[in-house]
Chain length 391, copies 2
């Protein structure tokens, strides 16, 4: 893609109405635009990242037997009256209508599965837009009023089968966090099982200063706890903890028979497994940035390489890279070298390739990986091979 | 995919609350489920069809320079007050909030493009969920209260440039309809340009008895007109017309400077180009069905082939087809041959493959294409090649 044609724009100053780093950087780099508090448009660069994250999530969900469906956002009041959740604060309601906007889907998936299956277990998920009445939307895309979420629901005939699957989902989640670059920073955190479960639930908490949550990590055994259940002594006996700000990128929950019972499914226990797609995108930006801009992990980056031409023509290199299905953002704009370099750092594509008169004299391009300072000259005829080895 | 595991169910009787063929067949065949009037869940089979249609649309939009973005569904009142459309009947409004649900996106895209680009032309589209307050939702997924739509908006510095692009979109739309199997039945129909344009707009009307529109096709020159502008004499001089029921699957519109002016974009003219994704899925079912069920066109079908085993084991064939990346639905359920054959016709995958004791004796499978009566025996070792030639 030629940057000149791309529908986007970089902005030098931080937007005044955004305090979070993720919103500041994503807006400044031209990935998202703010329409209202907690409501964002995703420009082409932003949508590319979302699609990459969605595909990672989809692949890992399918590997553990998940089947993808798409449920509506408009929910009839009746379904929510059955569970007594119609009047919760989270629910946006439609004026003059008995419809609400879905902020979760237990009320829809449970009767759906009851109707369509008699063979268990079943693992059903969707990647879908959720709406949540959020009076304090101030963390950019970490906490939106409209956001993308993956929600998986599992249905089992025994608690032991639920327990086994719950462990599988844990593993799948860590594969997702690994591929998105977040694994090192993400803690499986013990949380309350809620009103309808004696067992614990688990949150996946990514440590970042932008986080609105706090977790306590045992300095001895590494187990972490959320604020709600933290008791200043770990199961291992230790009383020393690290206190960290964090953002909940996922949570998994044994619902037991709470919803299946309410919707008349006998002897079925359920699990539910949420993962914020847009929230994860925000968390990635919070974790991977420097004073110059975003540093995208490879698998979620909108492009593989950012090709800059300085006082020369790199269109042949652009064509050759594209032929090999390498995803290239090609900056052939008539801008100063400084502006191009700054934009490149701000946008944060993993590999920068510069073709200038100087490198051309040596039949080379200059390679720099985002987040490092090392410069490397690579022969133009070896470039494709070099890049393919990096991907 | 093994049919036994697929989250779906066929139903023998037509649902009592659905009068349209598309909803009856899609529900009976296990593609969709009705949550409320005009509100449907898409089960795995249904979502596969949607994804196929989306990919076709995406490819053809990208070919004419379209850039994909994703705009929100929650819209601030302010944007809609600028155009005077806040109080239209179509708009669902959120209770106790100055937010409405988007049923179109001119009010969002225009200021967005104004903010992010100074280089024209620009062609921006999204594939996104629309909400429309639809008091009479009775045509299944042809007219939903929540539905998927592709909306493309173009921005130009001259009317001639808009006119040129408008023609390109027409061509792209016919490519889409061709790939979805609808081209023969879809008429480019003249319609009014509305209050803000002296020129005509165009609707893409697919002829089907389920249609809520009526078009008039000139028997002499083939030009068609919608009800609103029909004047009983064609431009060619003829006064003989065929009157047909039809469903509007797309419409394209020269907005001129109506919205650009309102949002302060000087000297920019716009076009908008809608295409109903779920509506097109419904139209396909209305056009391609028989008394036994749906007959999916190849490119939108959820699977390439439906493999049925009768009193024997076809798992080796299943594995071999999958190895060649042929998409197979494999019916190894313990059901009678009659049930399997009926379900197969109802679901409507293009190619049926039967392995039975009888065919196995001849080292063959029996092939039947959906919508035809011809049976063909094909040697098992030649099967993959045979199928690849059909795709």
């Amino acid at each position: 893609m030629k940057q000149r044609e791309l529908f986007t724009k970089t902005i030098k100053e931080n937007p005044k109405d955004e305090k979070s780093i993720n919103a500041q950087l994503l807006i400044r780099a031209g990935f998202i635009d703010k329409l209202g508090a907690g409501i964002y448009s995703y420009l082409p660069l932003g949508l590319m990242v979302i699609e990459n994250i969605k595909n990672i999530v989809r692949e890992e969900m399918n590997k553990i037997g998940g089947q993808e469906i798409l449920m509506p956002s408009l929910h009839p009041k009746e379904n929510w009256e059955i569970t007594g959740r119609w009047n919760v604060e989270e629910m946006y309601k439609i004026k003059d209508n008995n419809l609400g906007l879905g902020w979760t889907h237990e009320e829809i998936i449970t009767p759906l599965v009851k109707k369509y299956t008699s063979v268990f277990p079943k693992y059903i998920y969707q990647i879908q837009t959720k709406f949540r009445n959020e009076p304090r939307a101030k963390s950019g895309i970490l906490r939106g009023r409209e956001f993308l979420m993956k929600d998986l629901y599992s249905f089992h005939t025994s608690e032991s089968d639920l327990n086994d699957y719950y462990e599988k989902v844990k593993e799948a989640y860590f594969k997702i966090f690994k591929r998105c670059g977040l694994k090192e920073k993400t803690y499986l955190t013990l949380a309350s099982g809620g009103a309808f479960s004696s067992s614990f639930s688990h949150e996946f908490q990514t440590v970042t200063d932008a986080g609105e949550d706090i977790i306590y990590i045992c300095k001895n055994c590494g187990q972490s706890f959320n604020r709600e259940i933290f008791e200043s002594k770990c199961e291992c006996g230790s009383t020393e903890f690290e206190e960290k700000k964090s953002i909940e990128v996922g949570n998994i929950f044994k619902l037991q028979d709470k919803y299946s019972k309410l919707f008349g499914m006998d002897n079925i226990v359920m699990g539910c497994y949420g993962l914020g797609i847009t929230r994860m995108m925000g968390a990635i930006v919070e974790v991977f940035n420097d004073e110059k801009g975003i540093i995208w992990p490879k698998e979620v980056a909108p492009f593989d390489v950012h090709l800059l031409e300085l006082d020369t023509d790199a269109s042949e290199i652009y064509d050759n890279l594209q032929k090999e299905e390498i995803k290239v953002l090609y900056d052939n704009r008539e801008k100063s070298a400084g502006e191009k370099l700054n934009d490149c750092d701000l946008i944060g594509i993993p590999i920068r390739i510069i073709l200038s008169k100087k490198t051309l004299e040596k039949d080379c391009v200059e390679i720099k990986k985002r987040g490092t300072d090392e410069l490397e000259l690579v022969k133009i005829k070896k470039l494709t091979e070099f890049i393919q080895n990096e991907l």
